[in-house]
């Protein structure tokens, strides 16, 4: 077995967060290597709604700055389309969805409140099932799989490397620093390490003495056959998130998730369920003029969440040259900014463009050890399998 050449920075995890970080580092001239256990973008990163409008996040301003220029920066198409519409089917939803408007306004982004007539003009597939909506003059949506491939190719254009089908088995440490990543193909030396391994981030960080608490869950989405393009593709609401793709398909998700135990190795199965029917029914309520459209696909993704559902982007206290990153089930849209933040933490030691202290791992210092049980995040799949 020939030795694999080490790198200045090794990133474990070829999802959208790891690849964006890799691209940011590589375009800086840093020698970077991404290790992926399966294929890049094969998990949650390639299986999401593609939304880019996270006004609650400290990365929001940077997310908004970067998306409109990502095609140009990467040199590959992301299918980014700006702005979003959110429709409400009840006054209750209308009130809940108003939070986005207030959050964004505080940060200098404008929105408009739509009455039913305005909403139907803006969204030709909408009908009388709605009471109103919001037109956010920010955010938007992009194609997850294409964007992900764009990060990977752009990173390679800058000299970064990707190794797929690599299993990380452990780490070599010396004097409070990681010196090499141990893999099924031998050790690979590094000066710095980034753990951005999605659901595996918890297990891998625990090996370094400081566990990032996460739990995995399965979520599902549906896709219809193509329909004529609406002026704005980023239309969601009525309990669904999603978009009309540039091809015309409606791709939507929402509703209950199932908490899962995480297999330590390999690619997890991602079965779908009859939840598809309930998403379909709600999509016909959101866009009644699309009720005739046929669903041609559904898919599921396995996603990790921290106990509070908020990201961790932080340096480990136990190993000074390790940055851990999980975006906690909301990673795709924020990826241009999260990669930038990770780059800053690796190279400069702190984030240059935003206060990300709320992403610190130390917020879980007093977390109850049985937090999963306390939050009701129980796993039923394994026991069901045994009794079947």
């Amino acid at each position: 077995m020939s030795e694999i050449k080490g790198a200045s920075v090794i990133i474990v995890g070829g999802g959208v967060t790891g690849l964006s970080a890799g691209w940011w580092l590589a375009r800086d001239g840093t020698d970077v290597l991404v290790l992926e256990k399966g294929m890049i973008g094969w998990e949650a990163s390639g299986r999401n709604g593609g939304g880019c409008s996270h006004h609650h996040s400290p990365l929001f301003a940077e997310e908004q700055r970067l998306w409109p220029i990502m095609d140009e920066l990467l040199g590959y198409p992301t299918e980014f389309q700006g702005e979003r519409v959110r429709l409400a089917s009840s006054e209750h939803q209308m009130a809940l969805y108003g939070r986005a408007l207030r959050n964004a306004e505080r940060q200098g982004f404008q929105s408009e409140v739509l009455d039913v007539k305005q909403a139907k003009e803006l969204v030709p597939l909408a009908g009388d099932t709605i009471v109103g909506g919001y037109h956010y003059r920010f955010g938007g949506h992009a194609n997850p799989h294409r964007t992900l491939q764009g990060y990977a190719w752009a990173m390679q254009d800058h000299g970064g490397r990707i190794l797929q089908h690599m299993t990380v088995t452990g780490f070599r440490t010396e004097g409070g620093r990681v010196t090499a990543v141990e893999t099924d193909r031998g050790p690979i030396g590094c000066d710095s390490l980034v753990l951005a391994a999605g659901p595996q981030t918890g297990r891998l960080s625990a090996m370094l003495g400081q566990e990032v608490p996460v739990q995995s869950a399965r979520c599902e989405m549906i896709v219809t056959e193509p329909l004529p393009l609406m002026p704005l593709g980023g239309v969601d609401g009525c309990g669904l998130y999603g978009r009309q793709t540039l091809r015309g398909n409606l791709a939507y998700g929402g509703g209950p998730h199932e908490w899962l135990a995480m297999a330590e190795e390999g690619t997890p199965a991602k079965p779908t369920t009859p939840l598809m029917l309930h998403m379909g029914k709600r999509l016909a309520e959101l866009l009644p003029k699309a009720a005739h459209a046929r669903i041609i696909r559904s898919w599921a993704g396995v996603i990790e969440n921290t106990p509070d559902g908020r990201p961790v982007i932080d340096r480990l206290a136990s190993q000074a040259n390790v940055v851990v990153a999980t975006l906690s089930s909301v990673g795709f849209g924020l990826s241009p900014a999260s990669g930038h933040a990770i780059r800053d933490l690796v190279v400069d030691g702190s984030c240059s463009f935003a206060d990300i202290s709320s992403f610190a791992l130390s917020r879980f210092a007093e977390l109850e050890p049985n937090w999963r049980e306390l939050q009701g995040w129980q796993v039923t799949a394994a026991t069901e399998t045994l009794s079947a």
Binding site: M166, A217, P271, L277, I296, R310, A381
Partner: protein
């Protein structure tokens, strides 16, 4: 603090609305499915047998579930006549009715769900069914899949024209419905499957102008070949179709000879025909089998990707069996329905018994190496085509665009900085994955759900990577395995407790707190998770 026993936003404690419960659900009413249903009913079990045929004319027009290629005669529009013809052409349907089987024709199964390592929500085996008007969920103690076969597509310029169709579709239209449009056809492929199809079409009154084979020798049973030759059929080895010519449909097949390197050479010749039947690769229908999580593997002796089965036709998922063509296709089985019926009888005998660990009996060696054979067809017909055409007809993707992994044309991405992002750039350390190529090029993502192109895309990737077909993973199948309209979804009600807690995302309060309001520490005890939440 009031702690819920389980996360109210999760599926836990949200019952599925099951419309019906049966002992045995049989999917597919061919030889194997009927034998299974009748046998299970004889044991006193309640049996529901569904078969999606006859599908509506519109569905046939979408090339679902088979590649009909607009080869339907006008009488295929008459649903009642189609139903009568379907029942009349298979006497055991009547027998099943009389045996007490709940037989539902025109009812498709679009999803099969079983608990596994990543799913614990199902109350048992659950199947999604739909007829023209409504969809419903059925729970079954046992499921016997008898979903049949379909054909590998094979493109050439003009292959989208009405009259180019799969062998199984042609055979179904001609022998089950008497609704086959073309009168004179060219058949591509010379395996026993292809020759059997040609003879059956001839018996139904269709003229078989030629058997076209890219290989230097024919592949199938020589006696069948002799029968065709005697009937006036030309046997053309080392030939391919260069184009399906015609204005509104196929009027002629333009044929060319292959040189010693397998490249089309020399003068072309037009053979008059109004149909071109693709019979280069018959493959088990594994869509529901794969979507349900049953183990599927490339098994040449079973005709390609097929379920991994034990001696009693058990799949890897408990209480799910596969019988008939969907369990494996080989020449002797095609010619003798008692082999499929024996599989069904073995499955019925095993219902409710524990798996013994006995392996399936070894099967006959295929009459040719199906990987080499199918790749040779795709190389000669698709790769060496004289003009670009759409391998994926729904999304209009060419072979070159698949091999170069080009972004879809609707993006009009002319300014791509680099043009060397071919398949090789994607390969990395593993074989090319059709699902990855599908997402980047859109090949296979259309409303025919990849039925016409998925085997060709796999073959193109194998050729591009210089690997055998068996090295190319199966592009995954997921429900709905038949297109299903949104308006049909409303028939299965949601549990009230699910509707009450429905949220756009995980429904976690803390996740959406704006960053300027986030507390310094998080504990479950101090987290305020009360009140409504609408995830962003």
């Amino acid at each position: 603090m009031n702690i819920p026993a389980s996360d109210p936003k999760s599926v836990t404690g949200k019952p599925l609305a099951i419309d019906e419960t049966v002992d045995v659900l049989v999917i597919g009413g061919g030889a194997a499915g009927l034998e299974a249903a009748i046998g299970a009913a004889a044991q006193g079990l309640s049996v529901l047998l569904v078969d999606e045929n006859p599908v509506s004319f519109r569905t046939m027009g979408d090339d679902v579930p088979l590649h009909f290629g607009q080869g339907m005669a006008a009488n295929a529009r008459n649903r009642t006549a189609m139903m009568e013809a379907f029942v009349a052409s298979e006497p055991r349907i009547e027998e099943a009715f009389e045996a007490g089987v709940d037989v539902r024709l025109g009812a498709a199964c679009w999803g099969l769900y079983a608990n596994g390592p990543a799913l614990g929500w199902m109350p048992g085996l659950v199947a999604g069914l739909a007829d023209e008007d409504r969809s419903l969920l059925v729970q079954a103690q046992h499921v016997i899949l008898a979903c049949g076969r379909r054909d590998m597509g094979l493109g050439f310029p003009g292959w989208e024209k009405p009259g180019v169709m799969g062998a199984t579709a042609a055979l179904t239209l001609a022998t089950r419905y008497g609704a086959f449009g073309p009168r004179q056809v060219v058949v591509l492929g010379s395996s026993t499957e292809a020759l059997t199809t040609a003879l059956a079409l001839r018996a139904a009154g269709v003229t078989i102008a030629a058997i076209v084979e890219q290989a230097s020798e024919t592949v199938g049973d020589v006696a069948l070949l002799a029968g065709l030759r005697e009937g006036g059929t030309e046997i053309l080895t080392r030939h391919v179709v260069r184009e399906a010519a015609g204005r509104d449909g196929v009027e002629a097949a333009l044929l060319a000879k292959l040189d010693e390197n397998g490249k089309p050479a020399g003068e072309e010749r037009a053979l008059a025909c109004d149909g071109i039947v693709l019979a280069v690769g018959t493959t088990p229908v594994v869509d529901l089998i794969d979507a349900a999580g049953c183990k599927v593997a490339f098994q040449p002796e079973r005709g390609g990707y097929a379920p991994v089965l034990d001696a009693s036709q058990r799949t890897s998922v408990a209480n799910v069996y596969a019988v008939g063509d969907c369990a494996g296709i080989w020449a002797a089985k095609t010619r003798d329905r008692t082999i499929a019926e024996a599989e069904a009888a073995r499955a019925v005998a095993a219902l409710g018994t524990a798996a013994t660990g006995d392996q399936a009996a070894s099967l006959p060696v295929p009459e040719c190496d199906i990987s080499d054979y199918r790749l040779a067809w795709v190389r000669a017909s698709v790769v060496e085509a004289r003009a670009e055409f759409h391998v994926c007809q729904c999304e209009e993707v060419t072979a070159r665009e698949i091999l170069e992994v080009r972004p879809p044309r609707y993006l009009d991405w002319q300014n791509e900085r680099r043009n060397d992002r071919s398949l090789a750039a994607l390969l990395g350390e593993g074989p090319p994955n059709p699902d990855q190529v599908k997402r980047l090029t859109r090949a296979g993502m259309g409303s025919c759900q990849g039925r016409r192109c998925r085997e060709q895309v796999a073959a193109l990737l194998a050729l591009g990577a210089a690997r055998p077909l068996s090295a190319i993973p199966l592009a995954g199948y997921r429900a709905p395995t038949r297109p299903l309209s949104l308006s049909m979804m409303a028939h299965v009600p949601e549990a009230p407790e699910q509707a009450a807690h429905w949220d756009t995302w995980f429904g976690m309060h803390a996740q959406w707190v704006p960053f300027w309001e986030v507390p310094e520490r998080y504990t479950v005890a101090t987290n305020d998770a009360t009140g409504p939440v609408a995830s962003e």
